[in-house]
Amino acid sequence: MKKKLIYALTLLLGIGVSGCSDFGDMNVNPAVTTQGSASALLTNGISAMPGWTTERRPGWYAQYFTETQYPVSSLYSLNQAGFTGSYSGPLYDLEAVKTMNAGNNMTQVAKIVQQFIFWQLTDRWGDIPYSQALKGQEIGSPKYDTQEDVYKGMIKALTDASAAIDGSAINGDVLFNNDPAAWKRVANSLRMMMAIQLSKRFPTATGYAATEFKAALAANGGYIASNAQNMVYRYDGAGYSNPIWGWYNGRNDDGEAKTMTDMLSSLSDGRINPFGGNAQFADQSSSLGVPYGLSEGNVRQWINANPGWAKVLRADLRAANSPVYLLTAAQVTLARAEAANLGWTTEVASTVYEQGITLSFQQWGLTAPAASYFTQTDVALGTDNVKKIATQQWIAAYPDGHIAWNVWRKTSFPVLTPAPAASNALKQIHRRYAYALSEYTNNAVNVQPAADRLKLNGNLGDTNEARIWWDQN
């Protein structure tokens, strides 16, 4: 009996052992796929774009907006945001579209969208990983490129993409409904916008920036010249909603800054109507801009006394399904005016300038401004052209803080007074984002040279007040 039992048990154990390591498909996750879809990855990459053009922080620095309660960031609190998520997120998704060989135009569109995102990153932080980035395990720890190299790389990539676009199919393009011609225009337009951003570094008509600008202007396929050609991201208002709608869906943290309403009032500019929505009455416009950069106590008192203060955009223009402008004809046209004024091109500055302003009015559903608008002293070109063009660029880009901050950093126009309640030691407007703390613990070997390069100008180093490369003469 006892022996039998031991035998039986041994047998049982034996059976157990032989089957021990086999679990069949137990470890196969039923809820994921290992098959990627190029079109779905492209849509996802494109969907990262409006986040950048509606980011509040550059808008605070450019005094488009100001915080209406518990102001912190608009008073220049320490800003050490990280940006690695953009690389592993949308940039790498777009890189996958390229490596999947999903068709020539898919690759080119992915490349263009990538340059748009890199542009946003380098204008905020300065030097960033570019040439060695997105190589996966091949280059596990990419170096930071100088901003000059990043800019030249982006411009070259856009040039190549524009030239390479053919008639092949695009799928997942939620901006232009898979139209290759539109992407050609976008590539050329972005190239122009990037080239003009370098005017402080390459001011002459024969310099790198002017050469690239002219080439883009003349490039096959053209550039964004009408509002119908604008790069616009549209929302369905259900699964995906306009971020600015989201700012006011439950909170009221931001107002249109008085800096903007003052400017528009002084120019008797009709855009004052669409740019501000009444905080109290959703169907009304408001031109009651919130004084910029006040302390909590002061802004609180002002808001309590002025319940009809201006929110960013009139309510119908920031509905859940309102579009977000990524790049507009007005912006591109005003860049052309700037280039003409610099003597880079042979276009007539004042003509293109007025065209740009008109496009901006029309973009917001307004009729073209009356002739009197263009003849007023603060608008008509002739004197202070740099200031006037910059001011119009600043107005036309609203609410895209990135462009506005770029314009101000490069030209110092419009003249902005730092927040009276500034909390930073220098009491100056931030000129860049600082690298994240984690870069110094995890990526010191790469971030340190970039931080050291920032010391070259004013010895500010990796601070919010240091100037990035194109921000220097």
Binding site: S21, N44, S47, S88, S141, E296, A305
Partner: protein, 1077 residues
């Protein structure tokens, strides 16, 4: 299984019939040393297997004996066993103290293994149920605090109903937050300690790590807490025990608030001037003064009892309408919000046994009405344990536990929760909680009928009033009335857990048995949350949406065990062998859904009613392992013992061709005192033992981590376009289980007739190659790699001391103490292969210092930006006299350096039992978001102090006010500034300087006190009905004797890195009545 249980019941029922021809022997057992009765003595009838009772607290017993019974066997720990012939029906037995120590507590291990203090090769710490359950705690982890050396208990506020507590063994494990201890109840693994009724516990033993827990394999790599529940026993009387307990908990430790300045962001009261568009009733307030209601900080006017318009005066329909009052501090307003928590904890238990069977049933009922308004918890636990010998060879057993819990309420302590802990962050110091509660249902008409708006203390100022849009004034800015919020934001959580086992044992002979066991642990949860429309329509800057969320989860773990146990004594050698197989299968499913952006039809709570497409969650996983194991202990002459464990696991979660991992441990113990001359042993040294052990246990992966590479898909399409993310995580193809090695040596001494015991253990552990998803340089496009990382080295010392300093007829005192020192604690490597030096284990919102593991640093560093100082530690100030930011600061480990506790038990006149348990820890850090915001918003005491000029720091600098700041300038020159208080405190946030908000975890706490009175049932003539009765007064957390931070109870910090809106420390007082029938 059902059938088996049923037949068990039938068999038990039959067995009861056979009691008919019995007689009852009663008796008393006393000690020959002091003549005192000995409780807990085992009394058995030698001739009848399975018989046995234990003596009560008075040393008395009563046992039923059939005709076959001739001899009683009487045994107890620390006494020599005695056999007494049965002569009459009443007997007096005296026992002699045992100096050989042969009859020690037998500790049940897993898979039928057993050990004693003598044979154990590691620091086996066992706590009896009585010692554990001094104050009838409802949480096993809390009950362990200070009682086991090397255990750091991380308790939670009693206000946080249903919240998990955690323990860290020996300084924590791995690269997480250091938890992951396994709870094993009668051999069944539970995921946490939540669902164990402490009244059921016989004893609990803590296996600190691989050397002790190797038999459990990978699941036990972080240590295990082994719980053995009580079995049915026959005793005098009916075998029914009733425990009735009630405790009352109150908020105890709250932050220190300032009580000088009122709410708002205007330092002066403002004059209200009535205007024609304002409500006519407000005319009564014309010319009176108000403070800023709209801002939820307390940088308002000084409170000196002056007349002002309170927040509620602006609403009609109350006795306070349109009336002013005086502006006074409300020092206890946060405290007043919390109710007195009432905790009723009742159990009834029935147990019996006879020669063939034992049986026990317990029903526990716990009802807690929480400290947070509208919160309560109801828990029913049911346990059924039985064993029946079918024949000489076969026996069946079952152990079935069912737990049902229903929890209601908003138990929130995250940032900006609207109910509770946020009082420490944003509030007005002049708010009267009584009036707040009284007005919780007050509303004003809204824009349309049925759109009424709740009244809130945080409405706008009267200058914002516009008759065309009254919401601009009445809308609740950041806060609802917190009482209204609890009414209109409801959460319900239910849990049904079923666990236990059924087993069949085949006993070949006295030496050999085989047991087949089926185990199950099933948990089903259901939760539902509702936010009512009135909150959405009342809130201005709150973002509360009318909404509904629901979730269901199901998890089921099943084990199939086959174990053989063989015990043999051959001459001087003893052998205990265990070998078996354990097959485990685990499955979990979850479904959840919540509405987005409101409900289309207000307050119709269903997922379909969502304004925007609802979010849906769906999760499922399957995993399993198969294991073969064996364990052997060889003893020589009962003073040398060697043991060895080998276990091999095959995991479904590892690569198929490399899924086998081996756990092993070895140990030895040597009771050297047995070899010492009798005169030494007899005089002062009762027993001396050396022990050493070594173990190595791997760690496994979670389901589906390998092989990775999975695309994510967004739930929502954009105009028909799918959105997909490329997988950013990669998996190292060589991924395998970790290796955790632990070794320890120790000594156990017993002195002076065992009246003093001392144990010391030195341990050393190394963990390496932990499989972990770690962040890599994401500029490559890849954000993480699942690989084997790291090397962690820790060393520590544990000391346990126990003694009976006084043992006399009328007074005895028993004391035990534990102490642990984390001697050494270092992260040697993270991943040199991937260039990773840091792992973030826990973060806190707003960038406050979180818990990181950094190469070359101690485990669990608190790391984040701080204050810039020079080489001498003096702050470097900017031109305004403000502190500047230092990028990365290591603040120290979250691990306390020293932990310990002292338990005292006194018995007075054999009538009173008094216990007092203290526990303490020294060292360890945590961050406090509450104090950061509390200071930013002018709530904390430090924001209203007096400077060295004798002026309030809130007074204007020009008038001699301001915070005095000393430091050095950028140029290194000593400088002194006076900085406006609000600027000073907001600067810490705007510049991310967290130095003032990192605190020490050091504390000394009187955690448990119990004063018990043994009711003399015999004297009172109740002994016909009642066998024993005792009444105890108990106190939980009565005194926080010392804490380095005065604002929180450091033993109850909610998160691993710190707290984000800590609920108050609490203290409870109560009573317990225990009756044995």
């Amino acid at each position: 299984m059902k059938k088996l249980v049923l037949s068990l019941f039938i068999l038990l029922a039959v067995s009861v019939v056979s009691f008919a021809q019995e007689r009852t022997i009663t008796g008393t057992v006393t000690s020959s040393e002091d003549g005192l009765p000995i409780p807990g003595v085992s009394v058995k009838v030698k001739e009848i297997a399975g018989s046995g009772v234990t003596t009560g607290s008075d040393g008395k017993f009563s046992i039923k004996v059939t005709a076959a019974g001739k001899t009683l066997v009487v045994s107890s720990i620390a006494f020599s066993t005695k056999e007494v012939a049965i002569t009459g029906t009443s007997v007096s037995i005296t026992l002699d103290p045992d100096t050989k120590g042969l009859n020690e507590v037998v500790v049940q291990g897993v898979y039928g293994t057993k050990s004693t203090q003598r044979t154990s090769t590691s620091n086996l710490q066992t706590i009896s149920g009585d010692k554990l359950n001094t104050v009838r705690s409802t949480n096993i982890n809390n009950a362990l605090a200070g009682k086991v050396a090397g255990v750091q208990v991380r308790s939670q506020s009693a206000a946080a109903l249903g919240r998990n507590t955690e323990v860290r063994l020996r300084g924590g494990n791995g690269f997480g937050t250091g938890n992951g201890v396994l709870y094993v109840v009668d051999g069944t693994v539970l995921p946490n300690a939540d669902d164990i009724n402490l009244d059921d516990i016989e004893d609990i033993s803590v296996m600190q790590g691989p050397a002790a827990s190797a038999l459990l394999g990978a699941q036990g790599s972080n240590g295990a807490i082994i719980i053995t529940t009580k079995k049915g026993r026959s005793g005098p009387g009916k075998g029914i025990t009733v425990n009735l307990g009630a405790t009352f908990e109150d908020a105890y430790v709250l932050p220190n608030y300032q009580n000088s300045y009122a709410g708002g962001n205007s330092a002066n009261l403002m004059k209200y001037t009535w205007k024609a568009t304002d409500p006519l009733e407000w005319k009564a307030l014309d010319g009176k003064y108000y403070h800023d209601y709209s801002d939820d900080t307390s940088w308002g006017p000084r409170m000196v009892g002056q007349e002002y318009i309170p927040w509620y005066a602006w609403y009609g329909g109350t006795k306070y309408s349109y009336k002013t009052t005086t502006l006074d501090p409300q020092p206890n307003n946060a405290r007043d919000y919390y109710n007195t928590g009432v905790n009723l904890n009742n159990t009834i238990s029935y147990g019996t046994s006879n020669e063939k069977s034992n049986f026990k049933m317990t029903y526990g009922n716990q009802y807690v009405s929480g400290l947070i308004p509208e919160s309560d918890l109801l828990k029913n636990t049911f346990q059924l344990v039985g064993n029946y010998d079918i024949s000489k060879h076969f026996s069946v057993g079952a152990n079935i536990n069912y737990v049902k819990q229903v929890l209601n309420g908003n138990i929130e302590d995250g940032y900006s929760n609207l109910g509770t802990g946020a009082f420490n962050q944003w509030f007005h110091r002049n708010l009267d909680m009584g009036i707040m509660k009284e007005l919780k249902d007050l509303t004003v008409p809204g824009a349309a009928p049925g759109r009424d708006i709740l009244a809130s203390w945080n409405h706008f100022n009267p200058t914002a009033y516009d008759p065309a849009n009254t919401f601009g004034f009445y809308g609740n800015h950041y806060w609802f009335n917190p009482y209204s919020y609890q009414d209109y934001n409801t959460n319900e959580n239910q849990r049904d857990r079923l666990y236990g086992n059924v087993s069949l044992t085949y006993k070949v002979n006295n030496d050999l048995k085989f047991t087949a066991t089926y185990r199950k642990q099933q948990n089903t949860t259901f939760s539902e949350g509702k936010t009512y429309d009135i909150l959405q329509r009342s809130g201005q800057s709150i973002g509360a949406f009318n909404g509904y969320s629901t979730a269901n989860t199901y998890s089921n773990i099943e084990n199939y065990e086959g174990v053989g146990n063989y015990v043999k004594k051959i001459k001087d050698f003893s052998l205990a062998l265990t070998a078996g197989v354990d097959i485990r299968r685990q499955r979990s499913n979850s479904n959840s859904a919540n509405t987005n952006n409101g409900l289309s039809i207000p307050d119709l709570f269903t997922v379909n009613n969502s304004v925007n497409p609802p979010s849906i969650g769906n999760g499922r996983s399957k995993e399993g392992w198969n294991a073969l194991f064996s364990h052997a202990t060889v003893g020589y002459k009962n003073y040398i013992f060697l043991d060895a464990t080998v276990r091999n696991d095959w995991f479904s979660t590892l690569p198929e061709d490399n899924n086998s991992v081996l756990s092993k441990s070895f140990g030895a113990s040597f009771v050297f005192s047995d070899l010492l001359p009798a005169n030494i042993k007899g005089s002062w040294l009762s027993e001396g033992k050396l022990r050493a052990s070594w173990g190595e246990v791997p760690e496994q992966l979670a389901a589906y981590q390998y092989p990775g590479l999975a695309y994510g898909v967004n739930a929502q399409k954009l105009f028909g376009n799918l959105l997909m993310q490329y997988p950013d995580g990669i998996v190292d193809p060589t991924i395998s289980g970790a290796v955790k090695i632990q070794k320890e040596i120790g000594v156990d001494f017993k002195f002076l007739n065992r009246r003093l015991t001392v144990s010391g253990t030195l341990w050393d552990k190394t963990e390496s190659g932990l499989p972990r998803n770690v962040a890599i340089n994401a500029y490559s496009g890849l954000s993480s790699v699942l690989t084997n990382v790291g090397k962690i080295k820790m060393k520590g010392l544990e000391v346990q001391v126990g003694g009976d300093p006084i043992r006399s007829t009328n007074f005895s005192w028993n004391i035990s103490a534990t102490y642990a020192n984390l001697l050494d604690n270092e992260i040697v490597e993270i991943s040199d292969k991937y260039g990773i030096n840091t792992i973030t284990a826990a973060s806190i919102t707003f960038g406050l210092p979180g818990m990181v593991h950094h190469k070359g640093q101690q485990w669990g560093q608190l790391y984040g930006s701080g204050m810039k100082v020079n080489a001498d530690g003096v702050p470097i100030l900017d031109a305004s006299g403000l502190y500047q930011t230092q990028a990365g600061v290591y603040y120290g480990s979250v691990n306390p350096k020293h932990t310990g506790g002292i338990q005292n038990n006194f018995t007075i006149f054999n009538m009173f039992d008094v216990s007092a348990n203290i526990d303490w820890q020294i060292g360890g850090k945590f961050s406090s978001l509450s104090n950061m915001w509390g200071s930013y918003s002018g709530l904390t005491a430090r924001t209203a102090t007096v400077n060295d000029k004798g002026m309030s720091i809130r007074d204007a600098v020009a008038d001699g006010g301001g915070v005095r700041v000393d430091g050095v300038s950028e140029a290194g020159q000593p400088v002194t500034f006076y900085v406006p208080a609000q600027t000073y405190f907001s600067n810490f946030y705007s510049r991310s300087i967290w130095t003032p908000y990192v605190y020490d975890l050091t504390f000394v706490k009187l955690r448990e006190v119990s004063i018990g009175y043994r009711i003399p049932v015999k004297k009172l003539g109740l002994d016909k009905f009642v066998q024993s009765a005792s009444f105890s007064l108990i106190a939980r957390n009565p005194v926080l004797i010392y804490a380095k931070t005065k604002d929180f109870d450091p033993s109850e910090v909610s998160g691993s890195a710190g707290e984000t809106a800590q609920l108050p420390g609490t203290r409870g007082l109560g009573f317990n009545l225990r009756i044995g029938f």
